[in-house]
Amino acid sequence: MKYQSQRVALYYFAGALGLFVAQILFGVIMGTIVVVPNFLSELLPFNIARMIHTNALIVWLLMGFFGCAYYLIPEESETELYSPKLAILQFWLFLFGAAAAVVGYLFRIHEGREFLEQPLWIKLAIVVVALMFLFNVSMTVLKGRKTAITNVLLLGLWGIAVFFLFSLYNPSNLILDKMFWWWVVHLWVEGVWELVMASVLAFLMIKLTGVDREVVEKWLYIIISLTLFTGILGTGHHYYWIGTPAYWQWIGSIFSALEVVPFFAMVIFTFMMVWKGGRSHANKAALLWSLGCSTFAFFGAGVWGFLHTLAPINYVTHGTQVTAAHGHLAFYGAYVMLNIAMFTYAMPNLLKREPYNQVLNMWGFWITSSGVTFMTFALTFAGVVQAHLQRVMGMGFMDVQDQLGLFYWMRLGAGVVTLLGVILIVWSLAVPGSARQAGRVAAQPAE
């Protein structure tokens, strides 16, 4: 850490980690409801638990991105943040909005479009929060050094805000509703979020491996070119069966099949940088998360996405547990691991601790990754069986679900393991070293 204002990132990291635990907790509750359907059925129906689970994920990932940007941008721009006060105010507003949304959901106050359940006033508050953030980071970049990493990161963050505006458009024609709903959902996670991911990974590679910036930044442009050249038209894989013209089956199949290429490039990139760099950075855990991020994103987003993206296959698997399997591993690999990589790298610097709590953190990595991987396999098998029984044999939905009980029990077990891993990650980032740090601060008041 070189700039005092980078410390505002700590607010965002703490908020994100708290919501991360809440997200997984609600995931475990839902996994329990699936196998014991009468569990909480009056108090907390599945649909309410589900909007909390998914919204908590989205909000904490965004909060993490904001934190990453507040840490990264002053260091890259070589200047203090434009306004740390505005950043702190923005954090509390965002956290308040998220909390208000969750409490509202518990009282059945929502707009009822998947992932975009936030009531209108919260959506508008999110826009205000995003504008505060974009103003703050853009002003910082404008007064400081401009690098490829800050360019790409800012483009991704502005894109997030711009495409979120489509959440305000809800036509009464379901086909048009779905088409533009994907402008938020797909163009986020398979578009502009990947710009954030690639730029943060590039920053971590420069810091952790010591490879020359010129090399890293050229890779960055190549990767994000591949991402958007495939990902934009790849939106077509959501336009197969919703009332849109048939040509999307060709466009969606071809371009979304190629979406695996940028993810593969990120694997090559991260491993090449580590191999070429040859620097042995003290923060081994941050390196593990960075390499884990590109690897798991390749499997979760790339391979598991490809599994069911071709139109003739998707015709059978669309909207089965195959989709759920892909969703879990993709979000974990690409965006959860990215955030945790950055938190693991930045938090020891921000808290002025040596990164000596790494063993616990790495245990957290392996336990959580095992949990999510096992869950993905359980859901994949469930989805294949479901697709066959329901879409080929024509068995009724509820009868098919009764056949999948074993897979759902395995998913619940994997979910509990994931929760334990997540608690370990949060604990390893927040707790160890705080006592020793307090002692050191007392001994060296001058610092």
Binding site: N47, L174, Y221, Y239, Y315
Partner: protein
């Protein structure tokens, strides 16, 4: 690689290519929107269908069910529920069947997934069924493969 491609060349390829692909995408989407609007002439979204969609959203049905394959995968597909209830053959019976099913929730059956009780007026239920009927008439390229959804 440094000889073949400089950083500024890579950057220009990125910006130019992204603009190109986005324009192509936006053009195709515009074409699809006009196709959908043309279909709406013969298959209009009536005020009742629009009101039914609001009922669908007010109760967050999509966070358990799926509609045209999108949703929470916890409860049956409803894009073709009209067809599953035999609406194409006997509209009146299908309408009553769907309404009665919603009104009789939750079943409380032990070990069966529970649909909550929703306070929906009879007029709103009719709108909701109109929304299901309208949705079942969308040209989905023959998806889902079976009437089971």
């Amino acid at each position: 690689m440094s000889e073949i491609l400089t950083k500024s060349a890579a950057r220009n390829i990125f910006y130019g290519g992204t603009a190109f692909f986005f324009i192509v995408f936006a053009g195709l989407v515009a074409h699809s929107v006009s196709t959908v609007n043309a279909m709406s002439e013969t298959h209009p979204v009536t005020p009742s269908v629009a009101a039914g969609k609001k009922v669908w959203e007010r109760h967050a049905c999509i966070d358990c069910h799926t509609i045209l394959g999108e949703g929470a995968y916890y409860a049956p597909e409803l894009g073709n529920v009209w067809v599953r209830y035999g609406g194409r053959e006997d509209a009146a019976t299908a309408r009553e069947g769907i309404k009665l099913w919603i009104k009789s929730q939750p079943t409380g059956v032990e070990g069966r997934r529970q649909m909550p009780h929703f306070d929906i007026s009879d007029a709103e239920l009719d709108s909701l069924v109109d929304f299901f009927k309208w949705t079942s008439e969308i040209n989905t390229q023959n998806w889902p493969p079976k009437v089971s959804g």
